[in-house]
């Protein structure tokens, strides 16, 4: 469990290097959302979650994380490798034939750390709720974490799941929404406006926390810690995490353009110049 902010910041920098190198290596993948969520993932896996790198699918007596917007697999794979679920050298197999690191995460290739396939959007929250109910039945007080993209909230199943959790008081889950306000074709406001998310979640009986700068690790850590204190009180918890898509690589920030394209050789070099190698590249 890492509490030191400098150490966590260093991990973030290395994870960002992993992301751009993986996507460059595959010449495909989704760097934008991955980069924007680095502080969240590093906080979870290195500081907040009680989890066992000796992976067991049942996940009894530990906290569990479910990624619903599976296309940001690069950040998940990097953080899993960097926290010891598998060797970091395996990151180079991302999106290659015969790899456990599929384009979108899957249990099918038995990659440690993955408990559900995701990619087709809108499904992860329901799965996370199921595992939260399973924990309650098992009298297991550990916590379920789930991440959804904001664009993903356009899927109807999300609202079925939100209604269920609020109505049935599933109060052992912390859902985070990556609010980067971008999706493939443009801004969420232009494509299909999400409206006032805080009011919507409150109306569905969720307790809502907001983080104005989801790329500030101190703020992310503090929000996660505060939200944990509100668990087991009859309300599911949601963190609206405002992030910047592409954060850390200047030319990827501020638009939706780097949602799902890979940098070329020259662009990779520019990106790597902006991200220090702190833990050693794979």
């Amino acid at each position: 469990m890492v509490e030191n902010i400098d150490k966590l910041t260093n991990i973030c920098s290395q994870v960002r290097r992993d992301i751009v190198r993986m996507v460059h290596g595959a010449q495909s993948g989704h760097p934008g959302g991955s980069l924007g969520c680095v502080e969240y993932f590093v906080s979870l896996y290195f500081s907040i979650m009680k989890h066992d790198k000796n992976f067991k699918m049942d996940g009894l007596n530990e906290d569990l994380f479910f990624l619903s917007n599976g296309h940001i697999s690069p950040v998940l794979y990097s953080v899993l490798a960097r926290s010891g679920y598998f060797h970091v050298n395996e990151l180079k197999s991302f999106r290659q034939i015969n790899s456990r690191l599929q384009g979108h995460p899957t249990t099918h290739e038995k990659l440690p750390g993955i408990r559900i396939a995701s990619g087709s959007l809108g499904q992860g929250l329901s799965v996370a709720l199921g595992s939260a109910l399973s924990k309650k039945l098992n009298n297991d007080k550990n916590i379920i974490y789930c991440l959804c993209g904001d664009g993903e909230l356009q899927e109807g199943q999300i609202w079925e799941a939100l209604m269920y959790a609020g109505s049935k008081k599933v109060d052992n889950i912390i859902l985070t929404i990556d609010v980067n306000k971008q999706q493939i074709c443009g801004s969420t406001d232009d494509i299909l406006s999400l409206g006032n998310l805080k009011e919507k979640f409150c109306a569905f009986n969720w307790e809502v926390f907001e983080v104005n700068n989801g790329n500030n690790i101190t703020d992310v850590l503090s929000a996660l810690k505060r939200s944990k204190k509100s668990l087991h009180k009859g309300y599911p918890i949601c963190i609206l995490l405002n992030t910047e898509m592409g954060y850390g690589v200047d030319y990827m920030m501020g638009s939706h353009k780097w949602h799902g394209i890979a940098p070329n050789d020259e662009q990779l070099e520019i990106a790597l110049q902006q991200l220090s190698e702190t833990l050693g590249d794979y």
């Binding site: 049942d58 099918h108 559900i116 396939a117 995701s118 039945l137 209604m163």
Partner: protein, 312 residues
């Protein structure tokens, strides 16, 4: 012959599982009475999850509950158990290899008066195409009850299909259900009839009528459509050298297609298909619909006579 609905067999099986297997949980999308899950709900309220009219969420919750060792049985109509939630089943259950039992009532035409919106005739095809999915279509109350109990011990996703109307309860209540095992009902040398679901009884009646006419049918109940009991099927046709398949489903993509594929590869054999021929259903009484869409005993008799003419 006692008449009982297959869905009540499911309800009875689930109740029994509740008593014997603490990991079994029930989920329902606002059709508790129709699925006969009320007894389980009453007996095990902490293990019953009413999700409301939200089938996609139900499938996801079921997938998640397997993490931690639960064995979820989802209950809704076959239409809402498959077509409505195909992507959820595909990604969160089948591809993720989750131990979910998708239990589907009101399958096929015999749902009756509600009409074609609810009469799914494509679900066997949808489910059998998913890698790793076991597909079972039971024929009566006893078989449905025993199959419900059996699938709890099978690790992996299962689609269990049954129906609404009261039909003859003719299989042995004491015979436990073996997944992947075809069940011979009559022996004969002239034609093999491979039947599933409600059409098994129709085929049995057809077999009795044909016997009076000197035609000996080997009727085999294919309750497990995937994996197919290839050995039993191929052994039977070695003897009879012609086939009729029967099902309450589209011909395209159903049991008949699976059997045709098997025999085309191993032992090309004349075959006739009794099923719905590329059409939606409509409102009506179950027996009227079985007649109109040619999946009743008369249609089976006619199919037998057609295939006998093709026999070399």
């Amino acid at each position: 012959m006692e008449l009982k609905d297959t869905r009540s067999g499911f309800g009875a099986g689930l109740l029994e599982l509740g008593k014997t297997n603490p990991n079994v949980v029930g989920l329902c999308a606002d059709l508790t009475g129709s699925l006969k899950m009320d007894a389980f709900e009453k007996e095990f309220p902490n293990r019953f999850f009413q999700v409301g009219i939200a089938e996609a969420n139900m499938m996801g919750i079921a997938a998640g509950m397997t993490i931690g060792g639960k064995i979820p049985f989802t209950g809704t109509f076959a239409n809402f158990s498959t077509g409505r939630v195909y992507d959820q089943i595909r990604q969160s259950i089948a591809y993720s290899n989750k131990n979910v039992k998708i239990c589907a009532s009101h399958a096929g035409l015999t749902l009756g008066e509600d009409g074609a919106t609810h009469q799914i005739l494509e679900d066997i095809g949808l489910m059998k195409m998913l890698p790793g999915m076991t597909v079972i279509n039971t024929c009566d109350y006893n078989q449905t009850k025993n199959a419900t109990i059996a699938i709890a011990n099978h690790i992996g996703p299962v689609y269990l299909r049954f129906g609404r109307p009261k039909v003859p309860n003719f299989t042995d209540s004491e015979k436990s259900f073996e997944i992947g095992k075809a069940i011979p009902i009559t022996q004969g040398n002239d034609v093999s009839i491979f039947s599933t679901g409600h059409t098994v009884w129709e085929a049995l009646e057809a077999t009795n009528i044909l016997k009076e006419q000197g035609i000996e049918c080997e009727l085999i109940n294919i309750a497990t459509i995937k994996p197919l009991d290839q050995k039993t099927i191929l052994e039977s046709i070695k003897k009879t050298k012609c086939i009729v398949t029967t099902e309450e489903h589209q011909i395209l993509g159903g049991l008949g297609c699976s059997i045709a594929q098997l025999v085309a590869k191993n032992q090309p054999t004349p075959i006739e298909f009794v099923g719905v021929d590329d059409s939606f259903g409509e409102s009506g009484k179950p027996t009227e619909l079985m007649q109109k869409y040619k999946i009743d005993k008369i249609s089976i008799i006619n199919a037998v006579k057609r295939v006998l003419k093709k026999k070399i």
